[in-house]
Amino acid sequence: MTKAEIVIIGAGISGLSIAYNLAKAGMKNIHVIDKGYFTNGSTGRCGAGVRQQWATKVNCIMAKKSIEFFARANKELNYHKDIEFKQAGYLILATTKEEDLQFSKNIKLQNSLGIPSEKLTVEEALEIVPHLNPKSFISATFCKTDGHVNPFLMSEAYFLAAKKLGVNFHFFEEVKSIELIDNQINKVITSKDVYETKKVVNAAGGYSKEVGLMVGVEIPVFSENHEILVTERTSPIQGPMVMSFSKNIYCQQVPHGSFLAGRSNPKALPSHDISSSWEFLDEMAKTISDILPEVAKLRVIRTWGGSYNNSPDRQPIISEIESVKGFYVACGFSGHGFMFAPITGELLTEIIMNKPLEDYAKDLHINRFKENTITDYEHSVV
């Protein structure tokens, strides 16, 4: 039996950021529990991109604040290595008239929130990424402060900083059930121990729905397999992440020199499947050779899959749960939990510590689905 002030389920980037922020705010006796190895879940499987070009206000604000953190992360976390934050931008291609119109609206919103994105012609886009196929798009948007962070090293930076502040980590330990007394969290029972605690954070990523059901809470999220390929490394030829929603691709060259490219599977059904498929490889190869013919000359060396944890409006749920006292959730990131992690940790810490929330963050409450107060739907998602 272990006494804990709080138990965080999931040591992915969200759980790590929440643990670090709680410890920084002075909370003691924090326990983080994960069923697998370090970064075994969606964090270690993500595309390593960090962007601010969104179509909803909430996502824009969260992304901007997170980018500001990435810029100071090495220093603030006193990390002895480097999180590999590279700001070479995101270049998002419009391939249809509708997309072109939507992107003009997006830029207006982003600029009004202080995000330095801009609309580009095909010629201007080619100056930034010369090997783009000019026939594959009609216009583009670019934000030079978007970019890349290494998910493994960012996680390690949070992990080590949290450990230094006294946070306890338990890997290869699985939460089996959660005991309530009068709708208040009382105990967390794992494969190895029992934790006496009044507070639980559900940061279980792809498995957050199952963790919710342990306390009888139906969280309206589902998991979906998204696949990625990585190539052999080559000399630096592409600064920004190139992305297209209509062509279903994101593709960047990471500082290491390899290219990562991912797409969603329109036929994927809700499941915990994270396997690789030849269909992905076929479709991805066709799209890369269409948009980025130079990149298509490289060899694929590995593919993998990971779970998007999708919410109904493709925006995160960062919230208390009113029906279960002491139960908090950070999930439904819809593929973007890594890039939002810094602000996720800050916001959930404010919620747990009963501090006043900024207005925008109130839109992340889970009740928006119950009360039908969804304000916005995020369409800028691959």
């Binding site: 370090f38 493994f152 390690e156 076929d282 066709k286 000359k297 060396i301 590995r302 593919t303």
Partner: protein
């Protein structure tokens, strides 16, 4: 011989000294060490280094090598040029 001069992962140029540092830091599985150091992420996909790392983990934890779980094997078996895949896929679409 100096551990810094013993190369464990040829693709990513990782030395034994770096692997031992990782073990000291508390990363005790092939999957952990792969993510921190990139060992096994290069063109050979761990065909050379993963067994060596498995042995180092066993030595460090004083257990048998067969008790150390191997890393997940992912496709592809060997590197394939993207445009070759695209070409074959398009030919398949026409059929």
């Amino acid at each position: 011989m100096n551990n810094k001069d013993i190369i464990i992962c040829r693709c990513e140029d990782i030395s034994l000294a770096e692997v031992l540092e990782c073990l000291e830091a508390g990363y005790h599985t092939v999957e952990d060490i792969k993510r921190i150091l990139r060992v096994g992420m290069g063109p050979c996909q761990g065909q050379t280094c993963s067994h060596l790392i498995q042995a180092e983990i066993a030595k460090f934890l004083k257990i048998n090598k067969e008790e150390v779980k191997f890393q997940k094997t992912r496709p592809l078996i060997t590197g394939v040029v993207i445009e070759d895949i695209a070409k074959a896929a398009r030919e398949g679409d026409e059929k």
